[in-house]
């Protein structure tokens, strides 16, 4: 008999799907909102239970969906890493929904709020399924689900700008999932399997016999480019600022905090469980990652520096953070991948915090988005002000905060790889300075008093003030304080993959 916590991945995915499906039966948008909150809370608790059970035992299990074992039926596979990601997805989804609920019900028309929450539930299910899946084609199906759901929550705001940016976002990310599908198809042609462990045995056999080496490199390239397009790595990320800048606060928080990361976690899992990381390093896909990561860090920071609109500035800076993550993976060192994972987790907390606080601060001056005219808004809404300050400081890399821990381990892993040491260090330094150059003026602006501005009264949103801002901020601080233990847990998890 399976221990009971083996069922948690399957139960959490199916729970999200069934609640997403049953939302049209509910009568009002509010009720759908409460159901989504309840579902994301239960998923968080379930993943916490799974983490509590799996991390000490350092156990990695696969779970058959249905009666048929591995190569025949679908399978999920979970370990310490997937449990942590599931926990973070659930928690951050819950907090962003809670925090952004005011602007949510203001931006979306009452008749269409239920559709929005169906999308949120399905997006949640897709993110969980992408981390837990042990089967490439299931991964492709849930990538399609997350693409449609992500484009739908961007277009929920129904302004001309969001519709225009959504059609570009949809076109480019369909390109990405098309390339990913070609990768899966080619892999099926040469290995004959769709389940990750079976493909791995075939791939290792192919590598040793030297058969089909050209298709193998092309497959690795296609899977990487497909996922890079969808997670807005440097050359492919043109759609990100418009899409994330225009959406409602909750959508942009969830999109840049979680959806971009779901694809990267899946890519890491594919590289570890399908190709094994040393095969990937021989195919020097990681060098391309390293180069794109560096370019992304610089380009994202420069664009964010030039940006006036506060939300688009945050979107550009997420492009830079994606560059950090891919640079970490591209460092060819296990500690590098672990540091990239820590950066994923830190960014999953920091960016929603920044988006939510920016949304609240902009409400002080009736949806004024330009960072110059947000002067002194923190005094009217001090919770959002403090949250924004903590988030900005973590992005800049002030010690004792999550951003610093991630950057610290990125630097130590760069040390371990002398070939890529200098470019990594220089770009890390430049982008840290650039971060400071566009975050610090922001923080200073919102805290300077401004006599002649006319801030309007701020309706207090208890969910934001008491739960989501404090929890997100404490998540950032928690990651900052015991970064070392997190790196240990992640490295043990990576070894198990």
């Amino acid at each position: 008999m399976l221990p009971y916590y083996y069922n948690i991945p399957a139960v959490s995915i199916l729970l999200c799907m069934i609640s997403g499906i049953s939302i049209p039966l509910l009568s009002s948008g509010r009720r759908a909102y409460r159901l989504t909150l309840f579902v994301s809370a239960t998923v968080t608790l379930l993943s916490a239970l799974l983490m509590y059970k799996v991390i000490p035992l350092n156990e990695y299990f696969t779970y058959m969906m249905g009666h048929f074992p591995a190569p025949w039926g679908n399978e999920l596979s979970a370990g310490p890493l997937e449990a942590m990601m599931g926990f973070i997805f659930g928690l951050v989804m819950f907090l962003s929904l809670l925090g952004g609920s005011m602007t949510l019900f203001h931006d979306i028309l009452p008749g269409k709020q239920k559709f929005y929450f169906t999308m949120m539930n399905m997006l949640m299910a897709a993110l969980l399924a992408m981390t837990y899946t042990n089967d490439l084609f299931t991964g492709y199906v849930f990538i399609e689900i997350s693409t449609i759901a992500a484009c739908a929550i961007v277009v929920a705001r129904d302004t001309p700008k969001t519709i225009g940016s959504t059609i570009r976002y949809l076109a480019i990310s369909l390109l990405g999932s098309g390339l990913f599908l070609i990768g899966v198809v080619l892999l099926y042609c040469i290995t004959g399997h769709l389940l990750m462990p079976n493909i791995q045995t075939q791939v290792l056999r192919l590598v040793s016999t030297g058969l089909y080496t050209v298709p193998l490199t092309v497959v690795a390239g296609l899977l990487f480019v497909g996922i890079a397009i969808k997670s807005a790595l440097f050359p492919f990320g043109a759609w990100l600022p418009m899409a994330h800048g225009g959406a409602t606060t909750t959508s942009s928080a969830v999109l840049s905090g979680l959806v971009l990361k779901g694809y990267i976690v899946m890519l890491i899992k594919i590289f570890y469980r399908v190709f094994t990381i040393d095969v990937i390093r021989d195919l020097n896909v990681t060098n391309i990652m390293f180069a794109c990561g560096l370019a992304g860090m610089i380009y994202g920071s420069i664009e964010a520096f030039r940006e006036e609109h506060i939300k688009r500035m945050l979107a550009h800076s997420s492009m830079a953070q994606i560059g950090y993550i891919f640079m970490g993976i591209g460092l060819d060192v296990n500690l590098g991948v672990a540091a990239a994972f820590l950066q994923i987790m830190v960014h999953a907390f920091v960016k929603p915090l920044l988006f939510l606080c920016a949304g609240r601060l902009s409400e002080v001056y009736d949806h004024e988005k330009s960072s110059y005219r947000l002067r002194g808004s923190a005094h009217k809404d001090w919770v959002a002000g403090i949250g924004f300050t903590i988030g900005a400081m973590s992005m800049v890399g002030i010690p004792l905060l999550g951003g610093f821990a991630a950057k610290f381990y990125l630097v130590t892993s760069a040390m371990m790889n002398p070939a890529k040491l200098w470019p990594a260090l220089i770009t890390l330094m430049i982008s840290a300075v650039m971060n400071a150059l566009y975050y610090m003026p922001e923080v200073i602006a919102i805290w300077t008093r401004c006599e002649l501005c006319t801030p309007n009264p701020v309706e207090s949103n208890l969910g934001f003030d008491l739960i989501s801002a404090p929890l997100l901020a404490s998540g950032v601080i928690f990651l900052g304080l015991n970064g070392y233990t997190m790196i240990q847990v992640i490295q043990r998890g990576l070894a198990l993959l």
């Binding site: 399609e144 449609i148 700008k161 225009g164 059609i167 949809l170 076109a171 098309g178």
Partner: protein
């Protein structure tokens, strides 16, 4: 040269699929009209499914419907690709519907279906 032609004829579906993918991909990027872009996307998607389904075909075997008690696998083709392509066709229809809905709304706002014009209008509005 003759051997190359024989091989070309033999791999006809895969080469056709790749060329159609290139055609659809090029049109998805280069066509100005949104409707043409969506047709290009459809051509691209169905070419990937043509490539996948042609992988399942084995010469001289019949469709995987078990008829009059014949059970051994040498008689039937490989059923997995047709199962995957079935899923793929429905995915590409639903994504086309979403794309078309966006085009209708964009026409409603900007009264044009030319993608570059729309993007210029949006950038003009943004400043």
């Amino acid at each position: 040269m003759k051997q190359f032609i024989v091989e070309l004829i033999n791999d006809r579906f895969m080469i056709a699929a790749v060329l159609l993918f290139g055609l659809g991909f090029m049109n998805l990027l280069l066509q100005k009209n949104l409707i043409k872009k969506i047709i290009g996307f459809n051509v691209m998607d169905s070419s990937i499914f043509l490539f996948l389904a042609s992988q399942g075909y084995i010469n001289g075997r019949i469709a995987p419907i078990i008829t009059n008690g014949v059970f051994d696998a040498e008689v039937y083709i490989n059923p997995i690709p047709s199962g995957l392509v079935l899923t793929g066709i429905v995915v590409s229809v639903s994504v086309t519907a979403f794309f078309l809905a966006l085009t209708v709304r964009l026409y409603g706002i900007y009264k044009t279906v030319d993608f570059d014009e729309i993007m210029l209008l949006i950038n003009k509005e943004a400043e």
